[in-house]
């Protein structure tokens, strides 16, 4: 007999992996279907909850009524974020911050990016013009130009380490080796540092980053922090790796790199998705499904000249009908109505206007999310992912008449 998962999560980004982990911890047998590395890997690794104002939770209360955050309570948001942070901390990637306080991390342009929850390696980040920072860069690092920072924060010092031909990915891998690390620390010993803090592009290894940061702090007796970089972004990849490893530890099954070919329905239920493969199509059966395939960049939403569609289930998509109005006139400020495009859901995160009982939708594919304008990407993905997971659990409970899941932990 074919295997039937309790839940099949489609999409392996923040929303999908977060939901999958929660479901697995509740005892569900979970599969994740993902086409490849999510755009989470391109992100700074910082969790933006709402990048306007000083208190994201207060700001959320003032968002337009259609925003997906309003589908859950403030308590749920706090609980979901705390749950998520606890999971990645267990996975070896501790974060700091509170959803009631925004912070500003220094970017490669020398300005402060407003965000909320950040990896501990960025905890000491500061973007104050009066800061006294010593930037350590690497010769030839393509997308990192310390002069941007030095010009905006005048007291900035700079040292450049010669590590041969470099990229952020290469440096992170190098830092994982004791030999490179030792050489770097020795070089640092000979560097005259008088500034209050040390800033380094986010390349301090993969899963050892925190340990390496502490070693540098010990060596220099100063707080050290990482500066998130443009893609490939090591800090974003660390977060993805941590989530994925956590998911694997919890027994979650991954189907990677294969696009979904067909969706199989039975009445009001999705029964399975089949994946394209070199030989026979792979069939992934589930009792419930979560769709978390992201917006346009991730490929969850597809735009053509004729309009916007959803890529897997062909769900009805809300979008501004006239293409001429999709984008505002200006790049700054980015007021683009196309950001409203997405799937409309009910309070249970089921897609509206179709009758599918066992499908739940989460993340930036949701209509009115406006991730770029509001700066709410990862936060909204985590919260709606958890919310969709809990609706999904409720559904499974009812469907199994009290028996939560087919497998017990």
């Amino acid at each position: 007999m074919e295997e039937i998962y309790d839940v099949v999560v489609i999409g392996g980004g923040m929303a999908g992996l977060g939901a999958a982990i929660r479901l697995a911890k509740e005892g569900c047998h979970v599969a994740v279907v993902s086409r490849g590395d999510p755009i989470l890997c391109l992100s700074t690794g910082c969790i933006d909850v709402l990048a306007s104002g000083e208190n994201p939770l207060n700001g959320i209360a003032n968002l337009p009524p259609q925003h997906p955050y309003h589908l859950v309570s403030a308590e749920f948001i706090k609980e979901a974020l705390a749950y998520f942070l606890n999971e990645i901390a267990l996975g070896g990637l501790p974060y700091v911050g509170s959803p009631e306080e925004n912070r500003h991390v220094l970017t490669p342009l020398g300005v402060g990016k407003t965000t909320c929850l950040v990896p501990e390696t960025m905890a000491a980040s500061t973007a104050e013009k009066e800061s006294r920072i010593h930037v350590i860069s690497f010769a030839g690092l393509k997308d990192f130009y310390p002069s941007y920072i030095m010009a905006r924060i005048p007291a900035t010092d700079l040292s450049v380490y010669e590590a041969g031909p470099v990229s952020t990915m290469f440096l992170a891998t190098q830092f994982e080796t004791d030999e490179f690390l030792e050489r770097f620390l020795n070089w640092l010993k000979g560097t005259d540092i008088t500034a209050d803090r040390i800033a380094i592009p986010a390349v301090l290894g993969w899963m050892r980053a925190l340990e390496i940061k502490r070693m540098i702090e010990e060596e220099t007796k100063r707080p050290v922090f990482e500066i998130p970089t443009l893609p490939p972004s090591v800090a974003g990849i660390r977060l993805h790796r941590t989530l994925k490893r956590r998911a694997l530890d919890l027994g979650i099954q991954f189907y990677l790199g294969k696009p979904i070919e067909t969706v199989e329905m039975a009445g009001h239920l999705v029964e399975a998705v089949t994946l394209e493969s070199m030989g026979r199509p792979t069939r992934v059966n589930g009792n419930a499904f979560i769709l978390a395939t992201g917006s346009f960049v991730s490929g969850g939403l597809l735009s053509q000249r004729e309009g916007v569609t959803e890529g897997v289930f062909r769900l009805p998509v809300f979008y501004p009908p006239d293409r001429a109005t999709w984008f505002g006139e200006n790049f700054f400020p980015p007021e683009h109505p196309i950001e409203d495009a997405g799937v409309l859901v009910d309070e249970e995160f089921r897609p509206r206007a179709v009758e599918i009982d066992n499908l739940f939708v989460a993340g930036s594919i949701l209509a009115y999310a406006r991730v770029l304008r509001y700066g709410c990407g990862h936060g909204m993905a985590i919260v709606t992912g958890q919310a969709a997971a809990s609706s999904c659990l409720k559904y499974l409970k009812v469907a199994a008449q009290g028996d939560t899941c087919s497998r017990t932990v």
Binding site: L42, T107, S147, L230, L302, L372
Partner: protein, 503 residues
């Protein structure tokens, strides 16, 4: 602080005509200044489809223009090898297109001396496999693809080598008159804010669509009708030959391969102000639809940008004060030291320059023959050319992945021309001209220029923001599919990673 200079001839406008006049004057030994408000080729020169006409397009409607085109086509192919790609062109007749028109077309081409060759559908498809397979026939003509920006630069090389001065990013704010004669101009250096006074014996107004605005500075009129033409660019070449529709000229009847991309155009809409012309959504739809009839793959091609140029067309009713040399362009002697040149097309820029310069020589009482058709454009020997093999030679540090521009090329360009606007570097290196339209590489290029100590951070952040804003206006009409995806990624990078716009 003001700065005064003296010369013989002042040219206003750095399009093909202005640059062509500068070269012509230089070869005849006449001192001159050229002033351009933006970069070279900023107006219609840079915003056309980059076609070196064979003249066939005009054969039926205007045989005089067609004749000028084929003659200039031959000259430019000879003197400007490095800025012209001899693609050849096809006029494609689709089912329903008039056969009568085709007969007239062939007849008229022969009359004015444009070589043609009739191709069967299968032969045409061999030459351009992406053509609509339903075609009835095609006619081969010597259309070429031309790089208008390079053309301007090469003309300026001759000027500079002979002491000519060309100032870009200088806006002429006033034409100075003495006893009702134009004797000089005041030019505002848009970068430093300094006003420069330049005095000369003759001032030439070669500002194309801005011709009337410029003439008004001297209290003169130039009768212009402004007609905008919009074009769209694909992310790769869908054809290696110019493809025209064999029917009377109308919207969307041409596709031109240019470097790594294809340009399809054009529309024709009267506009009141050249600075306000924009590509409208309906034009985008129409151009895709029409181009898809010639090359079906166009309907699914990735459009990376759209743009609009404004044609300065002659308006009748100024007889007596102008010398009619051609139906397609006109030289107006305002009889007060100012000469305006209007109309014309990129293909005939050299001929127009020759006629203007003839008049200038006359006015100055000088005698020297025009040599611009005799010698190849200077400076071509220094051009590496765009072939991939050439670009791969020094690609240790790629700055622009789309167009394979290396760090060294950016640095060399900055050292050579200085840097005021990122677009100046883009025009000269093709940095940021590919699918991402500079989304990734502009930040890098500015970082490099910054490291070279050539600009302050305030300048670079201003330049970056300004660039992103202008870039966005160009790609905005083309945002769907892959281009929309890329745009949201770029937006995310600048807003959510780099924090640009946070202060």
């Amino acid at each position: 602080m003001s700065m005064k200079s003296k010369t013989d001839v002042i040219i206003i406008g750095g399009g093909a005509t202005g640059c062509g006049i500068a070269r012509d004057l230089a070869l005849r030994g006449v001192p001159h200044y050229l002033l351009e408000e933006g970069d070279f080729a900023r107006g219609a020169t840079g915003a056309c489809h980059g076609l070196l006409h064979s003249g066939a397009r005009y054969a039926v409607s205007d045989s005089e223009a067609a004749k000028e085109c084929i003659e200039e086509n031959r000259i430019l192919r000879r003197i400007g090898k490095k800025c012209i790609e001899q693609t050849g062109g096809l006029f494609v007749r689709l089912p329903g297109d008039s056969k009568k028109f085709r007969d007239r077309f062939l007849e008229k081409c022969e009359e004015v001396g444009i070589p043609t060759q009739i191709l069967s559908p299968s032969r045409a498809l061999e030459m351009v496999p992406s053509l609509n397979p339903e075609l009835e026939e095609a006619v081969l003509v010597p259309d070429c693809s031309i790089d208008p920006f390079r053309l301007c630069l090469l003309n300026i090389v001759s000027s500079r080598r002979r002491g000519g001065v060309a100032l870009i990013h200088h806006r002429v704010v006033d034409i100075v008159k003495e006893r009702s004669r134009c004797v000089g101009v005041k030019a505002l250096d848009l970068f430093t804010g300094q006003v420069k006074e330049i005095y000369g014996k003759i001032i030439i107004n070669a500002t194309g669509a801005w011709g009337d605005k410029t003439a008004r500075l001297a209290g003169c009129d130039v009768p212009l009708t402004l007609s905008k033409g919009s074009l769209i660019i694909t992310d790769h070449r869908l054809t290696n030959m110019v493809v025209n529709r064999l029917r009377p000229a109308s919207n969307g009847d041409i596709i031109v391969p240019n470097e790594a991309v294809c340009v399809a155009g054009t529309t024709s809409v009267d506009v009141p102000d050249p600075d306000e012309a924009r590509l409208e959504p309906w034009e985008m739809e129409l151009l895709i639809q029409e181009a898809s009839q010639l090359i079906p793959a166009f309907s699914r091609a990735r459009i990376i940008r759209g743009y609009t140029g404004v044609r300065p067309l002659i308006r009748g009713g100024c007889e007596g004060d102008s010398r009619r040399i051609s139906r397609s362009f006109r030289i107006i002697d305002h009889e007060n030291g100012l000469i305006s040149i209007i109309g014309g097309k990129l293909t005939t820029y050299r001929y127009m320059a020759e006629k203007v310069t003839d008049l200038v020589m006359d006015k100055l009482g000088l005698k020297a023959p025009c040599l611009t058709a005799e010698y190849p454009l200077e400076g071509q020997e220094e051009l590496s050319g765009y072939p991939l093999s050439k670009r791969l030679e020094n690609l240790n540090e790629i700055v622009c992945e789309c167009e394979l521009v290396g760090k060294r090329e950016v640095e060399e360009t900055v050292n050579r021309i200085g840097v005021r606007y990122i677009s100046d570097i883009q025009h000269r290196t093709r940095l940021g001209m590919g699918p991402c339209q500079g989304g990734f590489c502009t930040y890098r290029a500015l970082g490099i220029i910054h490291n070279m100590g050539r600009i302050s951070i305030e300048e670079s952040r201003y330049i970056l923001k300004d660039f992103l804003q202008r870039r966005f206006r160009g790609i905005r009409p083309a945002l769907w599919g892959a281009q929309l995806r890329e745009e949201q990624l770029v937006e995310g990078m600048y807003l959510r990673i780099l924090g640009l716009g946070e202060e």
